[in-house]
Symmetry: C2
Subunit: 409 residues, 2 copies
């Protein structure tokens, strides 16, 4: 079961003026489940996205990049679950384009004003006829207060829907930010996870929004991992409708930009952490904080290496303080000139390792006590500089194997 | 249970003239099991080793490197299981050195003529007094035909002991090669696995032997992976006693060198594959052959990425041809300019993917049939050049989680 994660309360999700959402049961892969979502953004809004670095990226990701490059105003997203439309060659591209064309026609737009997204099984053909047949029901359902249903519509092996809202006051204007995401497996996003969608009514310039999107992705979706597998479909899109009426935020160095960044980052981190809490088979939520690095990149490398080690993850599942496995992972992180005698390891509040070995003060009882809770923080000090990074992950349980051995059946 | 792997038949293991092995039950971590091994190499033998690249390398690995650097003639190895003596700081180094000193004293050698090896739990202190107390029993047991017992003495979570012999005729002289290894978990050797020990009676020069050791490691232990975790203790040592009487093999380009290389590589590959067949929880043995690469390094990167993907490994456990997961792993292997439309994927004899998508000829029935056997070959063509590499791995089952959640208890 997800670690300390309740379904979002629909009444806690705030509408974003200028954004409407419509859901349908299109029967993409299985009958009678919400599996198609259209998000409509009002004229004048701005949108930025980051996408998977997987070279086998999905057809919809390729089409998203094409449509964003045309500089047309993006006015709608179409998202299906069930089939990822990845590893589907030319037919897959044609299907993704056809989906955009059909949504554009239904909403009175051009095809390149629509971005397509898919999630589900890889290498299966997208049943584009069923998708297109579902569009009228989505359009009929379009409304601003549909965020909870939208979060449900993008779930695959997720157990709990993920959605959150925050507000911040900038220049006297109340700015609202609402986001949804899905995750569960094939989760080591590298640019962002499939699918994160965040909207705000802030008025913000195009370049500032693009910068904000990259900044937020690097510190939220890009620092979580469930299984170290980067999906073919990862996409994070942030839309700003400008309906809040605040003066346009354009400079990256301004106080207004910083405040908006903070609010969007909080939403993104809650969503990203929710994906880990609902990671396939997760029983623990683990925060890995690495500091004392010469670069942020090497701190991230250490954090990810620990987070990807099946030996570390199974030890957490067992609540077994087999902490040498963490040291071994630190040693494997690719820092050629790492000096193990300068490395420190804390488990919760307890100092576990220093000077290349076990700390004199450490006891097995401390380790057992620290491993018990469902939320655990590991701190690694590298003793090389002032940089730091934080990675969030979950443990590795029987249920991860069960879920992934069963996924297609 | 191990995949198609039977315990070695003691009578099939050939003695190497100039090598004697002695075993004891020293009670290192648990009572009443073979856990201490001394290998003695006669005067005039040569020895080369490769060791883990993990920066948190174990104390015995540090001492091995020191002793090999002194250029003293190495005459003995001392190997304990139960405790890895890694992450043990200055005390660990002192304990490793004390072990060498005690073995040297018992055999009339200097301490730097002894190499120490340990395998087991990380960050626990080595009970050096019990180790030293076990040395006389090992020495009393020294004999040439003790390879089967030696293979048993180095097991940890291994189910089956690993040992093999081969003979080759060079310049009219019969050369014998015998090796032992252990593995099971924390297996992605990077230089070699803890512990591989291979001996031959060939007469071979020091530089040629060092070259041979690196060549063999790169194509055997360094291309296997169970869980992607590189151990702190990986070590491969090859000893050549020179007792076969053949003319000394010195040139790397000679036909004699090539023949010896082939025989030692065969032994090393059988041992390395045996480690995978006996990987923790393994139910399948998977060969990943990557060709068409621009470099051998990128072929290895693709092979390792597939072999490390928990999603791929759990699909194999389930015999589920969820082959999009393999394409996703290929896309994640870090080849920035990979063109997915040129990639081909074969599962067994069946072409699965080409031109960026599923092959027209592929059927789900083919996939199901190909996933059924306990031994499966995947072939990936990158369409970029003439280089190739092969990686061996196993699947990921409930038992991997069970074994590693229980390991210390």
């Amino acid at each position: 079961m997800p670690v300390h994660l309740d379904p979002p309360k629909p009444e806690a999700l705030l509408s974003i003026s200028g954004v409407r959402l419509g859901i349908a049961k299109a029967g993409i892969r299985k009958p009678n489940r919400k599996d198609l979502l259209i998000v409509e953004v009002a004229e004048g809004g701005r949108l930025a996205g980051v996408f998977t670095q997987n070279r086998y990226c999905a057809a919809p990701v390729i089409v998203c990049r094409e449509h964003l490059a045309t500089k047309s105003e993006i006015r709608a997203l179409v998202i299906n679950t069930g089939v990822a439309n990845a590893g589907t060659g030319e037919t897959g591209l044609a299907n993704a384009r056809a989906s955009c064309g059909a949504v554009a026609e239904a909403l009175g737009l051009k095809a390149d004003q629509v971005l397509p997204f898919s999630t589900g099984v890889i290498m299966e053909p997208l049943p584009v006829d069923r998708l297109i047949a579902g569009i009228p029901a989505c359009v009929a359902d379009l409304k601003p207060d549909n965020w909870a249903a939208a979060a449900e519509a993008i779930m695959t092996t997720d157990i709990v829907a993920k959605a959150v809202s925050r507000q911040v006051v900038i220049d006297g204007f109340t700015i609202t930010v609402t986001g949804i995401a899905k995750g569960a497996g094939m989760i080591q996003p590298n640019m962002a996870t499939m699918l994160g969608f965040i909207a705000t009514d802030a008025t913000v310039g195009g370049e500032a929004l693009a910068h904000l999107t990259r900044y937020v992705a690097e510190r939220s979706f890009n620092v979580i991992t469930v299984d170290g597998d980067t999906s073919t479909n990862d996409s994070l899109v942030i839309a700003a409708t400008g309906h809040a009426g605040n003066p346009r935020i354009i400079g990256e160095g301004t106080a207004e930009f910083a405040r908006l960044c903070e609010a969007v980052l909080e939403v993104a981190q809650i969503l990203a952490q929710a994906i880990v809490r609902d990671g396939e088979g997760a029983t623990k939520f683990i925060t890995i904080a690495v500091d004392g690095g010469a670069t942020r990149a090497e701190c991230l490398a250490v954090g990810k290496r620990i987070a990807h080690s099946p030996l570390v993850k199974t030890a957490f599942f067992a609540s077994d303080p087999n902490l040498g496995r963490i040291l071994a992972a630190v040693g494997n992180a690719g820092i050629a000139d790492l000096d193990p005698t300068k490395v420190t390891l804390h488990l919760g509040e307890f100092l576990v390792a220093e000077r290349g070995g076990r700390a004199a003060s450490y006891t097995e009882e401390q380790g057992k006590a620290a491993m018990k809770p469902a939320e655990i923080t590991i701190r690694v000090g590298l003793g090389r500089g002032d940089e730091s990074a934080t990675v969030w992950t979950c443990d590795f349980s029987y249920d991860y194997v069960k879920i992934n051995a069963d996924y297609r059946s």
